[in-house]
């Protein structure tokens, strides 16, 4: 599933991939947390893709995924990885390099 390339505008789109292994409580929690954070800080500028490794195990090799759940920020560069259920919002923001409240270039 290739993410569609959006029109090149000043406001870049955040391309986020959440790797899970089936529907576990951790993955559901991670997704919920992620949605919240994105709505709060990246409204309208994000795209979340859920990749279920149980269905596509080969993708784990490509992105070097070890831990589940893992959130990968593919865009904007550079690539950032966050592991965990994203319950620690502070850490998520630091990890994704989201400056809260600041407008993105």
């Amino acid at each position: 599933m290739q993410p569609k390339k959006v029109k090149k505008i000043k406001a870049e789109v955040w391309d986020l991939r959440l790797y899970v292994a089936g529907q576990t409580s951790k993955s559901l929690e991670a997704f919920a947390n992620l949605k919240n954070i994105c709505e709060q800080h990246l409204k309208g500028k994000y795209r979340i893709e859920i990749i279920d490794l149980l269905k596509n195990p080969r993708l784990a090799q490509g992105d070097q995924i070890l831990a589940i759940p893992t959130l990968v920020r593919k865009l904007p560069q550079p690539l950032k990885k966050i592991i965990g259920d994203l319950s620690n919002t502070e850490r998520v923001l630091v990890g994704l390099d989201i400056r809260s409240g600041a407008t993105l270039p």
């Binding site: 790797y19 292994a21 951790k26 991670a30 947390n33 490794l53 149980l54 195990p57 080969r58 784990a60 090799q61 070097q64 995924i65 070890l66 831990a67 589940i68 759940p69 893992t70 690539l79 950032k80 990885k81 966050i82 592991i83 965990g84 259920d85 994203l86 319950s87 620690n88 850490r91 998520v92 630091v94 990890g95």
Partner: protein
């Protein structure tokens, strides 16, 4: 009755052969099937290679595909690394015999934001196993995870889960671990993997490095508990098992020639026993290498293969020197029957020498092995170590029925019967070479000090290095012992003189006797002639007598007629 049934139902731990030379012998079968084995050791001790060889041989020799999860090297790096050992990683991957996955953890990339598990790793390993239908898994080295992931508690819990999972899947796993200070592995992997633990050691002593392997633990099986030296060379790992130090080898009564016919005569008339060990000792320059070379050359002429280990001279030097005494070593080399291996003993440690010799003997399968000289090994080990190494070597050769000839240098001045490494008790035949100093010269002499199992000569024989090889000369005993050299020559000539004189004397006497015979015969002839003439005389007289008688009778008759009376 019930006990017997129980015994039958007891399952013995099944083992998986690794294909690594010597390792399966030490472990009596290989690694435990379906269980994880921990290989720990310092850097450069050969852990990755062990794991890789385990998989490669499993895939190519035992039909068990494998998965190699590398946490440290990429596929390109690994392909290059194992190519030098003759392994074609790319080919095995293409034919789905092996799956290689490089797991990379970049600490800076990872931010921990809550609870997580390592299911991703599980999924990757599971995927790999499914793709090739693997039976063997190698994780190298799992301790990298500790460096990469921030939370050790989660990591440890997941590792425990991983090994249980691998066990459940029936995978025979090899896990490598870096040796820590004071503990087997840096992060204590031995807590989780306690079915089989193997320690690889790579130490340097006396400027020589030796590799050793030790089975620390092997649940469910007896195993050799000693340290085993091993080599890593262009074929991979070779472990040297201490073969039957139990003195259980079978023997043969076949005899082989020493290459010197008169020496064979000293050895019960037939030479050495096949499979025996022979020691040739002597001080410098007494001709040990010459005897060894002649033995080897004779063996090659019979069509036997010979391995010549030289610790002192280069092969070309030996061949040249032997050519000067008429021993041709070049022809057997060309025909592939003779192989030289020359190294300074200080090049490796004793175990490496032993392992290397083992390998060469296994590959070449000689009938004769010459080691010249064995005393040089004293440079790389103390007497006890060298003796132990030689015991192992001799044991192996006896098992294989290889006849071994060792030469050893004795120091002048020390008792000749005391060799430097105490090896004399290990060998079956001991030829002692010495210099005999007499009448202003030194000549070489040889005698058979011992030869187990045969009647041997007790004579000290002089030997010469002639241009047709080593030759033993006749024994000449003078008043002070064996005569050698010019003393012998003079004795020889004296004896020849004496012989000649005796012969001449005899001739003279013969002549004399002849003369007397002739004289006597002449006398007899004369007497006979006399006798004959006398006999003739008697005959004549007799005839005369009879004639006279006749005449008288006739006269009387006439007289009667004339007288007309009688």
């Amino acid at each position: 009755m019930a006990a017997r049934k129980n015994r039958k139902r007891l399952e013995v731990l099944e083992k998986v052969p690794t294909g690594i030379t010597g390792f399966d012998e030490i472990t009596q079968g290989g690694l435990p099937r379906g269980r994880p084995t921990l290989i720990c050791g310092g850097p450069g001790s050969g852990k990755t290679l062990f794991g890789m060889e385990f998989l490669m041989r499993g895939a190519t020799e035992y039909g068990e595909p494998g998965v190699f999860i590398s946490f440290e090297e990429t596929m390109e790096e690994m392909t290059k690394n194992v190519a030098s050992l003759g392994f074609d990683l790319k080919h095995l991957m293409a034919t789905k015999k092996l799956f290689f996955d490089y797991v990379h953890i970049e600490r800076s990339e990872i931010e921990e934001t809550g609870a997580y598990d390592l299911e991703g790793l599980f999924i990757r390993i599971n995927d790999a196993i499914t793709i090739v239908g693997a039976k063997r898994v190698v994780l190298d080295t799992i301790e990298s995870l500790f460096a990469g992931l921030p939370n050790p508690f989660i990591l440890r819990a997941e590792l425990r889960r991983l090994f249980r999972w691998l066990k459940k899947k029936g995978m025979t796993a090899v896990i490598t671990g870096e040796q820590g200070t004071g503990s087997l592995t840096r992060h204590g992997m031995e807590e989780y993997i306690s079915d089989c633990v193997i320690l690889l050691d790579h130490r340097v002593s006396g400027q020589v490095s030796t590799r050793r392997l030790r089975i620390l633990k092997y649940r469910g099986s007896t195993h050799g508990a000693n340290e085993y030296p091993f080599l890593i060379d262009e074929k991979g790992i070779t472990v040297l098992p201490i073969s039957s130090l139990g003195l259980r080898h079978t023997v043969t009564s076949q005899r082989i020639s020493s290459g010197i016919p008169r020496l064979d005569a000293m050895l019960g008339g037939k030479g050495f026993f096949r499979g025996s060990s022979i020691l040739v000792s002597g001080t410098a320059g007494t001709g040990k290498t010459s005897i060894a070379a002649q033995f080897a050359a004779a063996g090659c002429r019979r069509g036997e293969k010979c391995l010549f280990f030289s610790f002192e001279e280069s092969p070309s030097q030996i061949m040249r020197n032997m050519q000067s005494i008429g021993v041709d070593l070049q022809t057997p080399v060309k025909r592939g029957l003779l192989e030289f291996h020359a190294e300074r003993p200080t090049l490796y440690g004793l175990e490496t020498h032993l392992a290397a010799m083992h390998k060469l003997m296994q590959k070449f399968k000689p009938g004769i092995v010459v080691i010249d000289p064995v005393s040089n090994l004293g440079m790389v080990g103390n007497e006890a170590d060298v003796k132990l190494m030689l015991i192992r070597l001799i044991d192996y050769m006896k098992e294989e029925g290889i006849t071994a000839l060792f030469t050893t240098l004795t120091t002048p001045g020390s008792a000749l019967e005391q060799t430097e490494v105490g090896i004399s008790s290990l060998t079956d035949t001991w030829l002692l070479l010495r210099d005999i100093e007499l009448g202003g010269e030194r000549n070489r002499a040889l005698y058979v000090l011992k030869s187990r199992g045969m009647a041997h000569s007790n004579q000290i024989r002089e030997f010469l290095l002639t241009d047709h090889g080593v030759d033993l000369l006749d024994v000449y005993i003078g008043p002070s012992g064996v005569l050698t050299g010019t003393a012998r020559l003079s004795q020889e000539s004296k004896e020849r003189e004496a012989d000649k004189m005796f012969f001449q004397d005899l001739e003279c006497k013969n002549l004399h006797l002849e003369n007397r015979k002739k004289a006597m015969e002449a006398q007899i002839a004369a007497m006979r002639a006399e006798l004959e003439s006398e006999a003739a005389e008697v005959k004549r007289l007799k005839e005369q007598e009879s004639t006279r008688k006749k005449e008288r009778t006739a006269l009387q008759k006439t007289m009667v007629r004339m007288r007309k009376a009688d």
